[in-house]
Symmetry: C2
Subunit: 333 residues, 2 copies
């Protein structure tokens, strides 16, 4: 990939970030930030679409997410981190794109369908939630992003964006907007400590980047393992066992991990012993992050200053795109 | 009504304005502009919702509508005339309001239902058109308008706006937004020259404020009258006869008009004679408007300068409202 690829990615600020976020996206951002133009959006407007009755939570989470970003090594000097609600070009673009999408097309969006079902909103679907694929197209195109890291379940969102891009460029007879490609990471998700397929704040099964050593120890101790591994001498299953999944994700001593897996599978290795090692591995990973995070937590002005600086930069880029959009729409006065 | 009432009104710039606009709204604006805070919006963004494939028409109509406003006496020194696409607070407010309205609620809006049917958009309804009641709520509330001149068919739009106002103030626990009352004018509409119930550009049955004396004469000559009034000596009908409707709307010599009506009804007065008088009346009304319009047409820079000045003022007012809105939504960074 060339230096010129532009990445747009981000998070809804609905709470602190956890190891699932790290594996699913944060690690990749740190990896890609030097070889790409990377924009990371704290999507507070989007978070409000299903949290509009709890704006204080969104407000507070902006700072927390920013601390998480900085702690894991997203570098505001190379990555443009910005706050969605402070980019007025995004709602403006959304308005214009809404003319190019039919209600019928939105209703068919598989991602939206699935999320509506998951959030039990069938009966009372807010318009804001219904139209957010169009809002997302505005996010992506405002920065002329060419790469958008998404899970497989989000591929229809990229398709919707590209449909808008093609319609817009065709109707207004100029290649103003740019199509984006999905960047589907190899490791998409991490199980929760309860063994559920996805670590998630709402499932209350996460290990947070900000967890103290004590919290971490408590969570690792309580982790779900192989439910049929009752006695130490029994053979155990490493597949679907989050303790081993975490070792694979965060461990560095691959030989030792292979040994432990073999021992666990043939029997004679207790859960307590594996968890003790997993705690060491996770603590080795989280301790420096926790230390850096503490420093940032204590300097709110600096952290928010970094966010505001990135936001100003992003605002300029999006305003430039909006200007081009309005130009070809003859909205230039 | 006190000086403090704030009016928001406006037009979609989809062509020049005609006598129907004058009777239905322009006359009232001239009348109310000194006793009220009046905002007049040239709604180019809204016009694009069903004209997005013809942006040049919208662009060109902005200047035409502005000339029409100035020619009839809307005074930019007392009325704030502004261009919707240059008020970024409106799309921002729209985004936040979209969270407060369900898709089901929008689907039930009678005005939207009727317009969808009228424009044959059932199959391919653009999202922009579907959500425009929410956009309209943003227009109205951005200026904290307390009075919105609307026809009876638009009353559901005001109700939708007020529902949003109440939801917003309740959820965010502060009376930031203001409810609006509908101002339903006595004379809502004028028939077309073809006798259809509504003068309308799309029906091609209008007399435009910018029509030349020749065009006016041609149109009045071709006007629909009483189809059963075949011979001069026949009694004629003045009800549903647009010539008499126009005399009522624009004539000043009420005695003469009463006489003509009586004569027409008992027979002996030909259509040609009535039309000749109607032409005099309309020409007396339109001639000074046409003269003023010509002056403005020749000074595009001045006219657009007045629009830009009003737009800057409106932008400031709307930005202030958005600031208050974002404050109570904890979107203050």
């Amino acid at each position: 990939m060339s230096k010129k690829e532009i990445i747009l990615t981000g998070d809804r600020p609905t709470g602190k970030l956890h190891l699932g976020h790290y594996v699913g996206s944060l690690a990749n951002r740190v990896l890609l930030q030097n070889s790409h133009h990377q924009f990371v959006m704290i999507a507070d407007v989007q978070a409000l679409t299903d949290n509009f009755e709890d704006p204080q939570k969104i407000h507070d989470s902006v700072f927390e997410v920013m601390c998480d970003y900085l702690a894991v090594g997203i570098d505001p000097c190379v990555t443009t981190i910005f706050l969605q609600s402070m980019i007025p070009a995004i709602p403006e673009l959304t308005m214009y794109y809404m003319n190019l999408v039919t209600v019928a097309r939105l209703t068919r969006n598989p991602t939206v369908k699935a999320e509506i079902k998951q959030k039990h909103m069938e009966e009372s679907l807010p318009v804001g939630f219904f139209v957010y694929p169009i809002n997302q197209a505005a996010d992506i195109t405002a920065f002329k992003a060419t790469l958008v890291p998404v899970g497989n379940d989000q591929l229809p969102m990229i398709e919707q964006t590209n449909e808008i891009v093609r319609s817009f460029n065709r109707i207004y007879k100029k290649e103003v907007l740019v199509e984006a490609k999905a960047l589907v990471p190899k490791v998409g998700r991490l199980s929760g400590i309860d063994g559920q397929a996805k670590m998630s704040k709402s499932l209350n099964n996460g290990i947070f980047l900000s967890d103290s050593a004590d919290e971490l120890a408590r969570k690792v101790k309580s982790m779900y393992t192989d439910p049929n591994h009752l006695r130490v001498e029994d053979p155990g299953n490493v597949e679907g066992n989050p303790v081993f999944e975490y070792l694979d994700a965060f461990g560095t001593d691959l030989e030792k991990i292979a040994e432990l897996k073999a021992h666990y599978q043939r029997g004679g290795l207790g859960d307590m012993a594996v968890k003790k090692y997993a705690l060491d591995v996770l603590e080795a990973f989280l301790a420096p992050i926790r230390t850096r995070r503490k420093l940032y937590e204590q300097d709110r002005a600096q952290v928010m200053g970094m966010l505001m600086e990135g936001t100003q930069k992003a605002k300029g880029v999006a305003a430039e795109t909006l200007k081009e959009v309005k130009e070809v729409m003859h909205l230039n006065y």
